[in-house]
Amino acid sequence: MEVRVQEQDFDAGVEIAAMRQRVKGAGAIVSFIGLVRDQAGEIGGMVLEHYPGMTEKALGIILEETKNRWELLDALVLHRVGRLDAQDQIVLVLAASSHRKDAFESASFIMDNLKTRAPFWKKEITRHGERWVEAKESDELATNRWRREKENG
């Protein structure tokens, strides 16, 4: 299990190959890449701020919870901070498991929880100025869904 926060871009292919070499017995690796979405050519870029220390701690706890719930052999969360441009990669999540279902659900759970519990903040840079991105209620609902599913067994 690995958490990385960095300004530099990443190469998903290199990270997947490294995980494939490292993990024994995996039958599937699911990868998710989040991008800076440019809605209608409005977004000139964005600045990503985080809370050093808490970020790594929060992501570590999310990975532990994932491991306790699914058969997760290995996972990587790599999140970028600093100045990013439209279409740039923001986040990479890799989840390795024996079977695809655990890998898919692990990656989805990690992302949903990252969105509501990891201390990152996005500030969009547009033609009209800068603005902090508002948190979305749909993200809270996505995280709560996992809690309900667990309670319902």
């Binding site: 989040g34 990503l48 701020e49 985080h50 809370y51 220390g53 808490m54 701690k57 929060a58 999140h79 923001i90 986040v91 992302m111 990252l114 969105k115 509501t116 519990r117 990891a118 201390p119 990152f120 903040w121 996005k122 500030k123 902090w132 991105v133 508002e134 948190a135």
Partner: protein, 77 residues
């Protein structure tokens, strides 16, 4: 205790400050709001509190060597 601010709250309040004698998170927030002006305004919207780098509720007890952070709801990913 050390109080840290992030994102929109950092822009309004500054990066950090030292405070003492706050028994819990609710007292701290009441103290900050009582400063009025930008403090009252910025803390009227939604925000989160972390104590020693873990999300906490308004009832969280605080100790003098705690690191407390106030920030807007997170928007990473």
């Amino acid at each position: 205790m050390k109080i840290l601010y992030f994102a929109r709250l950092r822009e309004v309040f500054g990066e950090s400050e030292q405070l003492s004698g706050m028994p819990d998170a609710a007292s701290l927030v009441a103290h900050l709001r009582a400063r009025g002006g930008k403090w009252e305004e910025a803390l009227s919207g939604p925000f989160r509190i972390a104590v020693n780098q873990e999300l906490a509720g308004m009832d969280a007890r605080l100790a003098e060597d705690d690191e407390v952070a106030l920030f807007p709801p997170v928007t990473g990913g």
